[in-house]
């Protein structure tokens, strides 16, 4: 398989990630929020989506929605404890996140979760998909949610952040 056809742009020797790294993701959000406020944290997420995830964006720009679906299937297969269904139609890819692996692990170990934790899925995701002419909408959160990736021109309203729940332990 040529590297451009692989759904994930990176490879590792292990099959799934180490769940304790969710502690560091949560702690990083808390640190940036404390230092830079919510707008700074959203800027971090947006920069991360456009910068670190640029190789994913390239795959999505060339591969369209099938590449989006393939990415998320491979992504969640490597996240320990995830229970996610990925559905694809001609216009939409939907992630039905039944069990968010990050919230599950943080909650199981009594970690105080940054309340706006679930917003990162919107801000990182939107920065990843925008160059591909797509957009994402997130609804739910705090352990389960629905994320919908669709063509930008068929969406009229912006993401309503009130539809993304605050996370709690």
């Amino acid at each position: 398989m040529p590297s451009s056809a692989k759904p994930l742009p990176y490879t590792d020797t292990k099959l799934v990630g180490a769940a304790d790294f969710y502690y560091a993701i949560n702690a990083t959000f808390r640190f940036v929020l404390k230092k830079s406020g919510i707008e700074g944290l959203r800027r971090y997420w947006t920069d991360l989506g456009a910068g670190y995830f640029a190789p994913v964006m390239v795959r999505w720009r060339t591969g369209g929605l099938p590449a989006v679906a393939a990415y998320w299937r491979a992504f969640f297969a490597a996240e320990p404890g995830a229970e996610v269904e990925v559905h694809q139609s001609s216009d939409v890819v939907t992630l039905d996140v039944k069990v968010c692996p990050a919230i599950k692990h943080l909650r199981a170990h009594g970690r105080e979760i940054v309340p706006c934790f679930c917003q990162h899925c919107y801000f990182v995701g939107e920065a990843m998909v925008a160059p591909a002419g797509l957009t994402v909408r997130v609804e739910g959160g705090n352990g389960s949610c629905r994320q919908t990736f669709l063509r930008h021109h068929i969406v009229s309203a912006p993401q309503d952040l009130a539809l993304i729940k605050e996370a709690a332990c």
Binding site: L8, P9, Y10, T11, D12, T13, K14, V16, G17, A18, A19, D20, F21, Y22, Y23, A24, I25, N26, A27, T28, R30, F31, K35, S36, Y44, D47, L48, G51, Y52, F75, A78, E79, P80, C100, P101, A102, H120, C121, V124, G125
Partner: protein
């Protein structure tokens, strides 16, 4: 969503993002506050309560989970790790990810202050290629680092043929707790 599978990739990316926001001091503050005092607070609790037994418990679990190739050795006074395949640096090398100038500093960035708080100091060398060694001792123990092979026998990373990579640089810490308290020397 940010995942844990490629965590080391966006973690390394974040170092440089923070450096651009607030300089190296913000990166050091991040390692200490977010990683040592928040993310890895379970490590601090174990080591503060149990000393070397806590180190065995923490690193035995976490390095196995991360898929490291490593060897641990301990006496009643010293805990040693020989890292032959750092899972974290290995991920970056394998995927050609290098945004921050010295990723390896992050370990001393959070472990150093953690151990200082518990009364320990660190002798440590890393070769920026996924190999390093650590010896941890009480701050009031003046014993120098062990000679090659003395504590971990043939598992001693310093006995590897590729320990000193051609044209590479070696970072050396002596009885340190600060990520900047190091000397850097050419490996060849």
């Amino acid at each position: 969503m940010l995942g844990c599978y490629d965590f080391c990739g966006h973690y390394e990316w974040t170092f440089e993002w923070l450096r651009q926001q607030g300089g190296e001091s913000l990166v050091r503050e991040y390692w200490d506050e977010a990683i040592h005092r928040d993310s890895q607070r379970h490590a601090a609790a174990l080591i503060a309560a149990k000393g070397i037994a806590g180190m065995k418990e923490y690193w035995g679990h976490t390095l196995a989970d991360e898929g490291a190739g490593y060897y641990c050795a301990a006496t009643s006074a010293t805990f040693r790790i020989d890292m032959h395949e750092c899972p974290s640096k290995g991920f970056l090398l394998r995927n050609v990810l290098r945004r921050y100038h010295d990723y390896c500093d992050h370990c001393m960035g959070w472990i150093g202050p953690l151990l200082k708080q518990c009364g320990w100091v660190v002798d440590h060398e890393h070769n920026h290629c996924g190999q390093c060694w650590w010896e941890l001792r009480r701050a009031d123990d003046p014993t120098p680092p062990s000679e090659s092979g003395k504590m971990s026998g043939t598992h001693d990373v310093r006995q590897r043929a590729d320990w000193l990579p051609p044209h590479g640089t070696m970072d050396v810490y002596e009885r340190a707790n600060n990520p900047d308290d190091k000397t850097t020397r050419k490996a060849d």
